[in-house]
Symmetry: C2
C-alpha cells in the first residue's frame, strides 16, 4: 500500500498542542473582552445551502473561492466562507422572539479556496461580532469601540488605525457628483477596493473599462485625498451627517484617537449599505487591512418581509497572530502539567493512581507514569512534560503513609501525608 | 427574488445563545476533566485528503456516509467523519519529536451523511481522547478511568456501564474455535456489531450468508453469554490475559465497579486491534451505546515504517446531552449580564459609556443601552437581559458625580461615586 502524506491539506494548518495553546489563548482573550461587553456566543452548521451565499456574498467569492458541492441527496451545499449570512438566517428565524438589540459573537472556522500566502489560508478561524437593532449610530460607535478594545486587550491599541467610511457618502459621490449609472458605481467600488492588490496600472485600465473618463478618474482621486471636513463642506449629504454623528458618538472613547476618515475604504462584500471600516496595523510591515466590517440594512430581507439593520465585523486568527507576533505581544505559553506521579515499579500502580486522584480532586493537573522504571527515567519523563512537581513513591515511605514531593525547579524534596501533598504544592 | 429558508441544513443544528451556553458548559466541564489528567488539546483541518479515510475507517462510512468531493484544483477531499485518522497523521508527522506517551484531546465537529434520528445528526461535536505509547495495559486502564471520570464529573458516574471486550479474544474465538477464515471472521464481527440495529431475523440470515452453520451460530451465542471467568478457563489466549491485566490495573479505581466484560462489543471501525469498549446508559430509555473506543496498533503505519500503539475514544455531544437531560443533570444556565447602563437621553451617552468602561475594567459584564428613552423602557430592557443591576443616570446626580445603582432582584437603590459602583455590585 502506498504511504499517505503526513502533510495537512493545502492551505490549512495542523494545530499541535503548542499552536493550539496560542489559538486558545488568542480566542480566550477575545471572548473575555466581547463577553465583558455583554455579547452572547452563537454558532451554526459548517455547511449551508449554496443559495445563502449566492445572494449577497459577492461574485468573486461565490464564483472562484467557495467550497460548494452536491450532497448525496442532490442538495447543493457550501462550506461557510463567512459567518454573516448564517447570523442573518438565524436572527430572521427567531425575529419576533429575540430581545433587541441582538448582541452576538461567534468563533467559526471559515473556508475559501485561495492561493495560500501570508495572512491568507484556505481555513481560518474568525471572531465575528454583530449588533442588530438599536440606534444605528450608537451601535456603530459601540462596535468600533469594541474593535479597538479587542486589540487593546492584547496591548496593541496604540499600534492600529481604524479607517472609516460610509457607503452612502460613496454612493452620493459616484451618482450625484460623477453621475455614474448604478452598475458602473458598484464596479468602481470594486476597483477601488482592489487598487492596492492589482497595482496602479491595472487599476487605471479598470476605470477606463468601467467607462470613467480621465476627468472623472481625477475627481475620484481628489475625493479620496480630501479630509473629512473638506468633503463635508463640498458635498453635504446623508452619509456625511451619519459619519459626523458617529465621530461625535465616539468622543470620550479611547477608540476615538485611532479613528481616521478614509473614503477609499469600500469592503468587498456586497451587502454593506452604511458605515464601513477597516483596521490597519500602523507599522509598515503589514500593509493590508487586518480586519474590517460594516453596516448592512437589507440582509434579513432574504428570508422574509422583516427588516433589521445590523453592524459587525470578522477578525481572522491568521492576521491577528501576524500582528501580535510583529509587535511581540504573545507571551510564553508553556504546557501546564502541575504534577508528575512517578511509578518505580508496576506493583505500586494502585498507590500512584490514588495519589493522582487526590491531587486532581484538588484541581491540580496531574499525570501518572505509564511506564514503570527507575528513578532517573521517571524524572526524565517529568522534565519532558515540564511538570512543576514530581511525587516519588518509595516502599519505605509508603509503609508510613508518606510521599516524597520534589520541586522540579529548585530540586528540593520533602515528605508529606496524602492529604498534605496538594496544600504543599499550592504553597 | 424567492425567499430563502431560515432552517439550517438537514440534520444540523443552529446554536442560539441558549443552546450555545449548554454546549459550552458541557465541553467546558469535559475539558476541565481531561486537562486535570494532563491531556493537551490539538486540532486539525476540517477537510482531509479522501485517502485518509479510504484506508481504515470502514466501508459503511466511506461508501455511504462520507462527505467527499473534488476541490477546484481536482483534489479529492473529505469532511472529517471522525478524528482518529487526523490524530494518527499528526503524530506520524512529528513521530520523533513528541514526548511520549502522547496524551491528546480534541473537540472537533464531525460530519456523516445520516438519516437524522435520535442521537444521530449529520454534524456533531465530539470530545476525542487518545493516549499513544506507554504500557498498553496501563494506558487502557487510564483511558477507561478517564471515560468514567468525564461522566462522573456531571454527576452521572453511577448511571453508566462500561462494557469491555478484546479484539484478540474475538479473533481467537472466530479463528481457533469456530475455524472461520479471516474474511468471514471480519464479516461476523460486523454482523454482531449491527445485531441490535438490524434485528434478530436479519442477523441470523446474515450469519448464514457469511457461511456460518447453525452449530457455529449456537456456539457464538454461547460465547457471547459466558461470563469472563468461564471464557478465560475454556479458551486461554492472549486476549484473555490482556483483559485480566486490564481488570487488575483498574483495581482501586472508581471506574472498576462500572466495568463489565461483554464479548459482543466489537466497534464498527476497522482499525481497532486490542481492547474495545462501549459506555452505556444503564437506564432503559437509552439502549444504544453512548460512546466507545478502543486500541489501534497499526494506524501510524499508513504514513511510514514507524509504529506506535494507541488507545482512545470519541464522545459525541448529542448522546451526551440526551444522557444528561434524561437524568436531569443539566443545571440552569442563565444569560450572564451583570449590569445594564441606562440611557435616559442621547446627551448622556458619554457619561453612560464612561460608567460602562469603568465596570468592564472591574471585570463586570456590562451592557449600555443603544436606544435612549424613559426610565420605564430602560428598565424593561434590563429585565429582558436578566441583568443583575442597572445603573441609572440622572442630571442632578451626575452634577454631583453620583450614580444610582438598582439591584434588579430586590429593587433596592443606592447612590455611589464612579469608583464605588463596582465594589458595591461585588458586595
Amino acid at each position: 500500500m502506498p504511504r499517505l502524506s503526513t502533510q495537512p491539506y493545502k492551505g490549512t494548518r495542523d494545530f499541535y498542542p503548542e499552536e493550539m495553546r496560542l489559538r486558545r489563548w488568542m480566542f480566550g482573550r477575545l471572548r473575555e473582552t466581547v463577553e465583558r461587553h455583554g455579547y452572547e456566543e452563537y454558532d451554526g452548521p459548517m455547511l449551508e445551502p449554496f443559495e445563502l451565499y449566492a445572494a449577497k456574498t459577492g461574485e468573486e467569492i461565490v464564483n472562484s473561492q467557495l467550497y460548494a458541492f452536491e450532497d448525496r441527496g442532490g442538495r447543493k451545499v457550501a462550506i461557510r466562507p463567512e459567518m454573516t449570512p448564517t447570523l442573518a438566517r438565524m436572527v430572521a428565524g427567531k425575529f419576533h422572539e429575540l430581545p433587541r438589540p441582538v448582541r452576538w459573537f461567534s468563533t467559526p472556522n471559515l473556508w475559501r479556496y485561495e492561493r495560500p500566502q501570508r495572512g491568507r489560508l484556505r481555513e481560518h478561524w474568525q471572531l465575528n461580532v454583530d449588533v442588530l437593532g438599536g440606534d444605528p449610530v450608537l451601535a456603530d460607535a459601540e462596535v468600533l469601540g469594541l474593535a479597538f478594545e479587542l486589540i487593546d486587550g492584547f496591548g496593541g491599541g496604540e499600534r492600529i488605525a481604524i479607517r472609516v467610511n460610509h457607503r452612502r457618502l460613496v454612493d452620493h459621490f459616484f451618482r450625484e457628483e460623477l453621475k455614474l449609472p448604478e452598475g458602473a458605481a458598484l464596479k468602481a467600488t470594486k476597483a477601488v477596493d482592489a487598487r492596492e492588490k492589482v497595482g496602479e496600472e491595472r487599476y487605471q485600465a479598470w476605470l477606463l473599462e468601467i467607462g470613467l473618463d480621465p476627468d472623472q478618474a481625477r475627481r475620484m482621486d481628489e475625493f479620496f485625498q480630501s479630509p473629512f471636513e473638506a468633503t463635508a463642506r463640498r458635498m453635504p449629504c446623508e452619509g456625511v451627517e451619519l459619519l459626523r454623528g458617529l465621530f461625535a458618538a465616539l468622543e470620550g472613547s479611547p477608540a476615538r484617537e485611532r479613528i481616521v476618515f478614509d473614503p477609499t475604504v469600500m469592503r468587498g462584500l456586497d451587502y454593506y449599505t452604511g458605515t464601513v471600516f477597516e483596521i490597519f496595523d500602523t507599522s509598515p510591515e503589514n500593509r493590508r487591512a487586518m480586519f474590517g466590517g460594516g453596516r448592512y440594512d437589507n440582509l434579513l430581507r432574504l428570508f422574509g418581509n422583516e427588516s433589521l439593520s445590523g453592524v459587525g465585523f470578522g477578525m481572522g486568527d491568521v492576521t491577528l497572530q501576524n500582528f501580535l507576533e510583529t509587535h511581540r505581544l504573545v507571551p510564553a505559553l508553556p504546557a501546564a502539567t502541575d504534577v508528575f506521579v512517578a511509578l518505580p515499579s508496576a506493583g505500586l500502580r494502585k498507590a500512584a493512581d490514588a495519589v493522582a486522584r487526590e491531587l486532581r480532586k484538588a484541581g491540580l493537573r496531574t499525570v501518572t507514569s505509564l511506564t514503570p522504571g527507575a528513578f532517573g527515567t521517571q524524572l526524565k519523563q517529568a522534565q519532558r512534560l515540564q511538570a512543576r512537581f514530581t511525587v516519588l513513591l518509595g516502599e519505605r515511605e509508603l509503609a508510613e503513609g508518606m510521599y516524597l514531593l520534589k520541586n522540579m525547579a529548585t530540586g528540593e524534596q520533602s515528605a508529606h501525608g496524602l492529604g498534605q501533598l496538594a496544600p504543599a504544592i499550592r504553597a
